[in-house]
Symmetry: C2
Subunit: 196 residues, 2 copies
Amino acid sequence: MIETGARRREIDEVASELFHANGYAATSVRDIARALDIQGASLYAHVASKEDVLWSIVDSTATAFERRADEAIEDAGTSDPVDRLAALVEAHVETVTSDPDRASVFVTEWRHLSPGRRDQIRDRRDAYEQRFRGLIEEGIAVGAFRQTDAAVAADFILSALNGIPAWYREDGRLSADRIADHFVDLALRSLSEDHR
Amino acid sequence: MIETGARRREIDEVASELFHANGYAATSVRDIARALDIQGASLYAHVASKEDVLWSIVDSTATAFERRADEAIEDAGTSDPVDRLAALVEAHVETVTSDPDRASVFVTEWRHLSPGRRDQIRDRRDAYEQRFRGLIEEGIAVGAFRQTDAAVAADFILSALNGIPAWYREDGRLSADRIADHFVDLALRSLSEDHR
DNA sequence: AACGTCTCCTAACAACCGTTAGGTAGGGAG
DNA sequence: CTCCCTACCTAACGGTTGTTAGGAGACGTT
């Protein structure tokens, strides 16, 4: 019963753009329909509710973050927490830059979901953040990172990462790869020992 | 003609809470009024429009950021870019933690302002960000920071700072001062040379 | 006692919201 | 040729939105 047709995907695409640009609450069903050159009511041939569109975007983006993080850790092929954290940061930048609209909606609009779905997303976000925190703690334990508050450091790095959609432009000065390199550098150094 | 009475300030206060919790677009005039135990229409004895409430919050918070940054640089009493950047980061954390609701609304809801006001805020945000970028460039020039992209580094640090309202709790594990210390540490180290 | 000012009220407005009902044109399958 | 399915339409619903109009009670000042 879950629609997966081409039109359904177009809806998610234009909705991501509009939700990113104006926010979920300030975007009407008729706004989304206008971007597809159809009537507002016609959307309901493809979608059960406006919230379902948001859910579709948020859920699939959460899955994208999780899957790409899994792959990155696996591809890294090491248990070294420093290398693993680097892989995680790089994967996150890749996911964000490969679809900034969806990433932005995922990060900023999930509070408009119904309570049940909101809780579900919060749990997955917590688990995702725990990957970062856990690796930081490991790195501290083996002496690769300095002694510091792993929770604060994880929030620091993840907030910086989630800020990317706000300024990233596909035709900007830096490619997604270069941004990823910079962010890996910045993140790892923020955890390093004193220099000199 | 600008109202500055006690009731007017209460409106900004409860509106900040609601805008932070649910977003500007998802908060109705009647929601704000209910929090003050009055009728929705009664708000218009104090306020010309809903957008004026948002503007009042955003404008005053922008001024708070600017003023505290000025004071911090002045109080630092040095021209060393490292110390100045540290003072700037510390000041930003202080402003955010002293009123997380307002800070959050300032950072996330200014896009709902009318075009003229939105441009005005964007200019002030750009100028504020330029302080960070400029100090980072200076630090690189004098060899205190490693050679890196100052614009990316400034975005990195500012995004991390602006993420604080999303997780900060006044009764949380860490005091605002401790968080400021951590953030100064993390930010400066992210710009430091290789260790060892 | 009269006055203005402040704060709030009720009632109502046009516009817009998400959503439902019922209908129609087109195209592919039998 | 008929049947069904997909994709869209128009019309309308009950409710909510930001906002205005006009009035009322309480207050300190003159």
